[in-house]
Structures are given as C-alpha cells and as structure tokens.
C-alpha cells in the first residue's frame, strides 16, 4: 500500500530529501509532495557577494520545481499550520495534505521586528541586511556610493544562518575599500553578542587575529536592545553604544511562521526540537526535521543540511519499514570563510571536534588547508555553486567527501594534553 511523505519547504533540505527518497522508492510505493510558497530557489551563499558587485540575484537563482526529479509533486502555496495529532498540513490555498511522514525543511526566517527599532530602520533605508536578495542588492548601491565613515556589521543574537557570513562580509569590505583606494576613509566595526570573533577557542584566535590584522574593530558581548535608525546608533541592553554611518545588520532568526501556529510542533523560537543524531523530531515519531528548521546544537549551514540528508534518508526508510532508527549524524559541518584578496579559510568540524588546523578531506594530501588562508580555498568556495546545483541538490555525493567528519588530517596539538 502506498505511503505518503510531505516535505515542507523546497529549499536545500527539502530538495535533497525529495530527490533522495524518490530515487529510493517506486512511485507506486511512496508519494512525495514538496510544498513551498514560491518558485525561486536561491543559492544562499551567493548573497554575500552581491553587495560587492561580485554576483547578482539573477545569477544565483533557479526555479524550484526544476530542481526536483520526476515523480515529485510540487505544491506552490503558503503553509497555514500543521495538526500533528491528525497528521494533516493545512495550506493557504485551502487544500489539506495528509501524511505518513512529515519532513520540516522550511528553514529560518528573519525577525527584525523582535528588536526595537530594527524593522523600522530597515524599511526606512537606515539599515541594510545582505541576508535577502533584495537587501543584498540595495547594499551594493550603498557600498558603491559610500564615501567614508563608520560601517557597523552586527549580529543581533544567535542562532543565525551561516554564522561565518558576517565575518566574511567584514573581510570582503576591507578588501573592497582597499581595492578602491578608500580604505583609510572607512572604519569597519564588527559588533557581536559572542565573547570573541567566534565561539570555539582555536578558530576564535585565528579569526580574531585576522580582524586585528585587517584593522577591523571588534566589539564583543554586545546584545542589541535597540537600533536607533535616525540617530545611527546600536544600543545594548547594558547601555553601551556603537554609533555608525552605515549599519549592516543580521537580524534575529526564528523558524517558519506556521510552526508557531502549529501547537506542539515548535519550540519558543519556532524551530523543531530534533534528536541531534537521528534527526527525528522529539514531538512525534513520524515528524523529522532537516536543515535550518531543526533545533540541534550545530550551525545552520548548507553543508550541515547536505550531510544530514544522507542520514535522514536512511532513517525515513527505516521508519517507513518499522525498523529502529540509526543514530549516525555526527554533527559534521564545514564552511569556507572568504577573507578577501582572493583567499579563504576552510573550517571542518562536528559535535565533538571544534574547527582545528590541518588538511581536508585527507590527511597529508589535503588538498585544502584548514583554518589557514589560501587561494585554493577561495577557488573552492567559488566553484562550489556548480556542485550545489549539479551534485548536492540532486542528492548525489560530492567526490571525496563523505557524510562523517574526517578525523584524520586534524592537528590536535592545541587542544589535547601531551601524552
């Protein structure tokens, strides 16, 4: 008898899961429906490059439905709510979808309205964010016309998607203005709620050092209570201030809005409480979550979604077959960190292991150095978009890179006690 899977969200996670599951099951055995509110699939890592004139919104988007293999139903509409007891999804076009398995892949949304003054400042063009295609495009105009002054780059609070992107923005801004011969007229200030450039000690020291080298001021433990758009100030809850001439903000993130309208589905931030190694939600056994929508203790990043996809496909298969789930997602994540001047860093980590120096994916041979600037890493980041559309989304493996974090190739001397 045919079973049905409903996948909420047609982004990275939703597309990967739909394609992998479609390949694993005959069309008569499993119906797969993907729901998304629009047909514009963006390669989100590309947003970072738009403000610097290195990319455009058109260059990094493709139709969502076209990324889905044949035999997958694509339903374009907003999601109203999920009834987790009746196992029904209610859609804005008044249709209802019943499910045997639900995969929540609707990601994270920006909630500037949760910070006093921020939504108003964004609407009034007194603050900008590169976390949306329109925002990144507007920021490109601002940077091109920026004659001098203080640019503040601010993360309001964690969690955010792609935690390294604000740092990358700072590094690229340094490069951009240096290239234009205007760096001396610009002050760059990186304002973070964290107690360092990064949370984990080894990477924090490396990245903090780079910020200092590039003359980017670092303001830490700054929790924004209010954004004064007209006055050009960030004000913290403990009454410190950072004045600016241009604000690049990364607003607070929550899960998708319908999660908050679905009793029992989400947590206080509308993310889905999820088992960190099986990716089954902790709210109902037939509900799973992947990507930014899940509340698990690892970064919200595309690489995480990709590595989760392999494990989750297997666990959905086991669930449908009535078998015990396999606890095997190890929290693997990796991120290229653009540092400007045609170089990038690469970090590779998981639940147990913080970002460490070394080589990736193989010890010795590499070829990519970890936690170290290199041109090869920068090329890797640029080329990655091709792999995204042609390997990652279709649910194919990326050559040489398995789901688990490679343990070899990491230099642990900074973190391990000498024997």
């Amino acid at each position: 008898m045919s079973q049905s899977i409903v996948i909420l969200g047609g982004g990275t996670g939703g597309t990967i899961m739909a394609n992998r599951l479609r390949r694993a099951y005959g069309r008569d055995d499993l119906s797969i429906t993907v729901v998304d509110r629009n047909d514009r699939h963006f390669y989100q890592p590309g947003f970072l490059f738009i403000p610097f004139g290195l990319s455009s919104a058109e260059e990094i988007q493709k139709p969502r439905a076209k990324q889905l293999n044949g035999g997958i139903d694509f339903h374009q509409t907003e999601i109203t709510r999920v009834d987790i007891d009746e196992k029904v999804v209610y859609l804005a076009d008044d249709t209802e979808l019943t499910y045997d398995v639900l995969v929540v892949a609707t990601g994270a949304r920006l909630v500037p309205e949760d910070t006093e003054g921020l939504a108003e400042a964004l609407d009034a063009g007194q603050a900008f964010t590169f976390y949306t295609p329109d925002g990144a495009t507007a920021l490109a105009e601002q940077l091109a016309a920026f004659e001098g002054g203080r640019i503040a780059i601010n993360i309001v609070d964690m969690p955010i998607k792609c935690p390294v992107a604000p740092l990358e923005f700072a590094f690229l801004a340094d490069w951009y203005f240096t290239d234009l011969g205007r760096r001396d007229d610009v002050e760059l200030i990186y304002v973070t709620p964290l107690d360092g450039a990064f949370t984990k000690p080894v990477a924090s020291a490396t990245l903090g050092g780079l910020l200092e080298e590039r003359n980017i001021e670092l303001v830490t433990e700054f929790n924004v209570g209010e954004v004064d758009g007209p006055g050009g100030r960030l004000v913290s809850y403990d009454e410190r201030e950072v004045p600016y001439d241009l604000l690049v903000t990364i607003p607070l993130h929550s899960g998708a809005e319908y999660v908050g309208e679905s009793p029992g589905l989400g947590d206080e931030l509308d993310f889905v409480p999820t088992d960190p190694s099986t990716l089954q939600s902790t709210v109902r056994p037939e509900i799973f979550a992947i990507g930014d929508a899940a509340n698990i203790p690892i970064s919200k990043a595309g690489s995480v979604t990709h590595f989760e996809g392999e494990v989750l496909t297997e666990n959905v298969r086991r669930f449908l077959d009535g078998e015990e789930l396999d606890s095997s997602y190890d929290g693997h994540a990796n991120c290229f960190i653009e540092t400007g001047f045609n170089k990038a860093l690469l970090i590779d980590f998981n639940y147990e292991t913080e970002p460490l120096p070394g080589r990736f994916p193989a010890a010795g041979v590499g070829p990519l150095p970890l936690l170290k600037e290199s041109r090869l890493n920068h090329l890797g980041k640029l080329m990655f978009q091709w792999f995204y559309w042609h390997a990652l989304l279709p649910g194919r493996p990326i050559p040489g890179i398995g789901a688990d974090m490679p343990k070899s190739g990491k230099d642990r001397s900074a973190v391990e006690e000498p024997a």
Binding site: D157, T199, N223, G225, Y237, D238, P297, F349, P355
Partner: protein, 105 residues
C-alpha cells in the same frame, strides 16, 4: 581544569570559573557566587532565573541564551540585565552552577 572553594566546599571549575559538574552546586553557594560577579543583594527574580537556568540545563543539556531567557523565564530581557548586569546568560549560568552556555558555532 581547576578547583575553587565556595561556601567551604571544593568544586571543579573551568578556567572561566564555570562549574564543570553541576551536581556539586548547592543553593547555599549562590550568595558567594553572585558576589563574585558584583551582585551583592539577591531578590526573588534572581532565584527565578537561577532555577530556570538549572531546569533548562537538565532538560536540554545547555543553558539558554538571553533571547530564550527573555521569552520563557517570565523575566524580561531588560529586567535580566538589571538583575545580572553585563551578560545575564553567562553570569546567571555561572551563579547557577551550570557550564557556560554552549554558543553554537
């Protein structure tokens, strides 16, 4: 890894003074721990937050962020900063005898 003595008891702490074993904490230690962070007088709301921190840690394996504290502890973020100036999530965690909140990467 180090130890310190609080209310006459030796406890294990990390290099920032956070408890590495929350089981070693007792409520008797709170006034001393709070004083270390410049909090000389404790009111009911302090205790509400400290108990909430320990409950969250027990349930989720990590202390909450300021944002989650503000949403679910019953104490607003503004009040939290009055009770624990300069970083409620971090300071309340230390005084509550739980490890430093696991800032996601």
């Amino acid at each position: 890894m180090a130890t310190k003595t609080v209310a006459g008891v030796e406890v294990d702490v990390n290099d920032e003074g956070f408890f590495t074993d929350p089981e070693q904490w007792t409520e008797e230690m709170v006034p001393e721990l709070a004083a270390e962070d410049g909090i000389d007088e404790l009111v009911d709301e302090h205790w509400t937050v400290l108990r909430f921190m320990r409950d969250e840690y027990a349930e989720k394996g990590t202390g909450p962020t300021v944002r989650v504290l503000g949403k679910t502890s019953g104490v607003s973020v503004k009040e939290l900063y009055q009770l624990f100036p300069k970083g409620p999530a971090k300071i309340a965690a230390r005084v509550a005898g739980i490890p430093k909140p696991r800032g996601c990467i």
